[in-house]
Symmetry: D2
Subunit: 308 residues, 4 copies
C-alpha cells in the first residue's frame, strides 16, 4: 500500500469540506483555532508513519483522550478483574441520546451508558485517579512515551477554560456521586478530566500513540500494554460508541472503530494494519469533524479496508 | 365550628396510621425522629389557634419552606414585575415525575417545572438570595415574626447533614447554572437552601405563620404581605404541585392547597377560613406523611370544607 | 350578582383576542369553523341561564366530553366500588407531557396518567361501553336530558373525519390493549370515543348540562347523579388535569376547575355557585381557547370568585 | 480451518448453558419449543457447510428475518437511490432502549431508530411490500432459493399466534402511520411482518442463505445481490443494532455482526470467511439466546476471528 499516495488523494477529496461545519465555540480557547486546518496521518503496525497537510500541528485532543484513559485503566488492572472493576461502574451500550444526557444516568442509577460519553469518562478518570494517583499526568506520561514525542503538553488555557464552563460536567459528577459511583472527590475528578482533554497532540502523535489498538495490544516497543482480547474490546466500544450519538451512522459509512473529539480530531483503527488520525476543526451537528469523517470514509473506499 | 372537637376526632381517626410509612432516612438527623409523633393545629383567620397531640413539638420543616420562599420572593418584588421575574425562570406546571428528576430540566433548558420541586426551589432561593442578601436568615426572621415565636431556629445538625448528602442538589444546581439559570454561586445557593429546610417549627408555628395564605395575603398584624391575587396564586401552585408527584391524588382525596415536607409535616389552606398544619414522620412512597394526609382527608370530610 | 352585566364586560374584554391563536386544523370538519366566534354562558345552581355573543351556536364539544364520560362512569357504578373500578385502570396525576404522549403509558404499564388525556379517556369510554352497551349514545341521551335540549346531535362529518385521522388514537388503544387495559375491541372503543367528541352543543347547552358539578352532584331535576364527594373529586381532576399540559398555568391564572376541547370550548365550575361555558375557536399552543381562557380569567377578576 | 472440530468444541462449551434463560412465551406456538435444543452451523464463502447438534432442525426465524428484509429492500432498489429511499424513513443508530419502545418514535417524529427494532422492521416491510407486492412471499421465495431448500415454509400457527398478540406492533404501526411513515394499510403491513417472522428455517438453511453477507454481496450462484458497499453496510447495522439493546455488549464480547431472534436463533458474519448460525431457545433478559451467544463468543476465541 502506498500510504502517501492514498493520503494525498484522501486530502484532495476532503479539502473542499474544510471550513464546513462549525468550530467548537463553547470555550474561547477552542474557538480561536483556525477553521482552515486539515491534516491526516497513518501509522502502520510496523512503525512507519505518513502524513499530509497539517499533520504535525498540535491540537486539543478533547474526547479522544477517553480512548486512552479506558486503555490505561485496563492496562493498570491486569486480568479480568481489572475489566470487571470498571464495567460494574460503566456500561458498554451506545447511548442513543446526546452525549451529555442526564436522562439515562437517572434511569440507570448513576451508571453511565458507556465510557465515551462524558459521564462514563468521568467514571473512568475517577478509576484512573485511584489507580495512579494522578489521572492526567499519568496519561500525559504515557502519551509522551508512546508517541515518542517528549514535548507533548497540556494547554493550560484550554483546561482552565473548560473549568470555567464546567457546570454541566460538575452536574454529571455530583449526580453520579449521589449514587455512590465516584471514588474520589468531585472537584478532583473534574479537574483531572479537564486536563486530560486539554492535552495537545498532532495527527502524527495520535496515530503513533494509538498504534497499540492496531497491534492487538502491543506497544511501540513490542511490550504488551493490553491483552489482544482487551485491545479488540476497546475497538468494539469505539465502533459502537466512539463518535457520540452518530456511532451507527459512522459505522455505516466508514466501518472502522474510531474516537472523535470536539477539537476536530478523529482517530480510527484498522486492526492488524494501521492507526489513522485526521484533524479538521469544523464539526457537524453531532460534534464530529465534517472533513475528518469524509476523509476516513474516502480512505476506506480507496483501500477497500473496513472491518466489515 | 368547634375546631377543638374536630381536631380530636381527626386525631382519633389518624392515630392508627401513625408509624405507617417510613421515616425519612437519607440523613441521620431526620432518621432519629420518633415515628410515633402525631400533631395537628389549626389557625383561623381571626388568630385563634387550636391543636392536639404533638402540636407544639418542633420538627424539621424541610420542603414546607418552599411555600414560604416563594411567598417571600413575591413579597419582595411588588407588582406584576416581581412575578414576571421569577416565572421566567421557573414554571408552574406539575412535574409528572419524581421530585428530584433531572429529565425535565434537561428537556426544558434548565427551567424547572415548578417552584416546589427541588430544582425550582433552588431557583427561588437563588432569587431570594439576590433580593435579600441572605436567603435563609431572611426566611427565619420572617417566620419568627409571623409565627410570633422568637425562638424559632435552624437545626445545624440537619443543615450539615443535608450538605453531606447534597450531591443530587449540587447536580441540579450545577445543571441549571450550565443553562445560565442561577444568579449566585452554586455553593452559596445550595447552602442557603439547606438552611431553609433545616428550620425547626411546630404545627402551631407553621399554622400561624401560614395564616396569610388563608387571609388572602394579609399578615397576622393586618398589614399586607401579598396582593390577594398573589396569595390565591400560591394556593393554586400548592394545590397543583405541593405534594410532590402525588398532587393529583392529594387534590382528589383532600381537595385543599397543601405543601408537604419529608420531615413529616404538611400545611394546608382553606382560603378565607383557616390554615392547618399536621405532622407525623412516617412517609408514603411519594414522600408525604401517611397519617398527616389521612388527617387532612378526614378533616375535610368532617367539616365539608374543600375548595371544590 | 348581575350575571348579564358581568358577561357583557367579560365579552368586551375578551373580544380583542378572538382570532388570536389557531383554529384546530387536523380534521377538515373543525377547520371550517369561523375563527370569529365568541360566546359565553353561565348557568347558576338555581337554573337561571345567561349568555352573550354566540352562546347559542352549537360547536364540537371534543375533549369536553371527557368530563361527562368520567361522570357517567362514576354515576353508573354507585359506591366506592365504582370508583375503585375505574381508578385501577387510570391515574389521577397531571401528565406533565403533551396530551397524546405515549411515553408515560409505556413507563407505567399501560395505565394512563389521568382520565382527561386521550389514553385515559379511551379507558373511561371502554368502561362506559361495558356499563351501558353504547358509550356514545348513552352520553348523548344524558346530555339531551340534562341540557333540556332534545335536539343535541352528533356531527357525523366530524366523527368520520376523526376516524380518518385516528392513527394516533388507534396506537394508544392498541398499546393499552397490549397491557390488557381494554375490555372491548379496539375499533369499537375508538369509534365510540370519536362519536362522543363529535357531539355538538352550544355554550348554553354545556353550562346547563354541567350544572351537577356546581350543585355537588345534583341534576337539574334535583335527583342525585353523583355523591357530593364524587362531584368534588371530578372538579379536583378538572383543576389538576383539565386543560391539557397547561393545567398548572390555568389554575394559577383562573383558579377554577375546567375542561377544554380543541373545538374551542371550555367549561368551568364555581362550586356552589354556577357552571360557565365559553367558546372561541382560536387555540393556543397547548390546545386551549385563547379568548376563552382570557374570558374566564377576567370573570374571576370581576367577581372575585376563585376556589382559592 | 477444521470447522467441524471447532464446532464440536464450541458445542461442548455451550451445551451446559442450554436450558439457561427462558424460552419466549408470549405466543403459545413459540412456548412449545423444547428448551433442550442446540445446534450450530457454519457456511464458508466457498459453499462448504458444517454443523453439529440440532443444526438441521427448523425453528422460527423471528427477528432474524429483519436482516433479510433489509437486504431485499436494498437489492430491489439498485443504486444509492434505493438506499436513500429507505434511510429517509428509518435511522441507523442503536436504539439505546428496549426493542419495542415507543418513546424514541415519539421524540423523533415517527422515524424508527434503526431497521432492526420492531418499528424499523415494519417500515422496511412496508417498503418491501411496495416494491414486491408481497413482502412475505417474496422473502420466502428468496430464502428458498438462496438456502437451496425448496421446503422452507411459513408456520401458520406462529403467524396467527403473533397476530392474536399483536397489539403492540399494531400500536407501533398506527403510530408511524400517524406521522405519515407507512405507504401501505396498517393491517397489511402487520400481517406480512408476522408472516416473515413465522418462516421456519434450520441453522443450516440460515447460514447458507446469509452467505451473501460474508461474500460482500454475492449470492450462492455467484450473481450479485448487493454491491460490496451495501453488504458491508448491512453488516455494520447488524453489529451496532442487531442484538436488541445488547448490541454494545455483544460487539464487546463476540465482535461480529449478528442478528438474533426470539426463536433462539442468531446469525453472525465473519466478512470474507463465513456465515454462522446458532440456535438454542433459552433467552437472556434482552431476548438473545444464552447458549447461542456463548457459542459465538467461544467460536471467536478458538479461531481468533473477530472484526476487531
Amino acid at each position: 500500500m502506498d500510504y502517501q499516495a492514498v493520503l494525498e488523494e484522501v486530502a484532495a477529496y476532503a479539502r473542499p469540506l474544510v471550513r464546513r461545519g462549525r468550530v467548537a465555540d463553547y470555550i474561547p480557547a477552542l474557538e480561536r483555532v483556525s477553521a482552515d486546518r486539515f491534516g491526516i496521518a497513518v501509522a502502520d503496525i510496523h512503525g512507519a508513519v505518513h502524513g499530509v497537510g497539517d499533520w504535525e500541528v498540535p491540537f486539543s485532543v478533547q474526547s479522544i483522550s477517553k480512548a486512552f484513559s479506558l486503555a490505561l485503566v485496563m492496562a493498570q488492572s491486569p486480568g479480568s478483574q481489572g475489566e470487571d472493576g470498571i464495567w460494574k461502574r460503566v456500561g458498554r451500550e451506545p447511548s442513543g441520546t446526546p452525549f451529555n444526557s442526564l436522562v439515562q444516568l437517572e434511569a440507570e442509577n448513576g451508571i453511565p451508558r458507556n465510557p465515551f460519553i462524558n459521564a462514563g469518562a468521568l467514571v473512568v478518570t475517577d478509576r484512573l485517579q485511584t489507580l495512579t494517583g494522578d489521572a492526567s499526568t499519568s496519561m500525559l506520561d504515557f502519551l509522551r512515551e508512546e508517541s515518542g514525542n517528549p514535548d507533548l503538553a497540556f494547554d493550560p488555557a484550554v483546561a482552565e477554560s473548560e473549568a470555567g464552563h464546567g457546570d454541566r460536567n460538575a452536574a454529571l459528577a455530583h449526580f453520579m456521586a449521589s449514587f455512590g459511583n465516584l471514588e474520589n472527590p468531585v472537584p478532583s475528578v473534574i479537574e483531572h478530566y479537564f486536563w486530560q482533554c486539554a492535552i495537545e497532540m498532532s495527527c502524527r502523535d495520535l496515530a503513533v500513540a494509538g498504534g497499540f489498538l492496531a497491534r492487538h495490544g502491543l506497544r511501540a516497543d513490542g511490550s504488551r500494554l493490553l491483552e489482544a482480547r482487551e485491545a479488540k474490546r476497546i475497538n468494539a466500544v469505539m465502533l459502537t460508541c466512539g463518535t457520540y450519538d452518530a456511532a451507527g451512522e459512522f459505522a455505516y459509512r466508514v466501518g472502522l472503530p474510531a474516537k472523535s473529539g470536539v477539537g476536530g480530531g478523529i482517530i480510527a483503527v484498522i486492526p492488524g494494519r494501521c492507526t489513522l488520525c485526521v484533524w479538521s476543526p469544523g464539526l457537524d451537528a453531532r460534534g464530529n469533524s465534517v472533513a475528518g469523517a469524509a476523509a476516513l470514509d474516502h480512505f476506506t473506499t480507496l483501500t477497500g479496508w473496513s472491518v466489515f
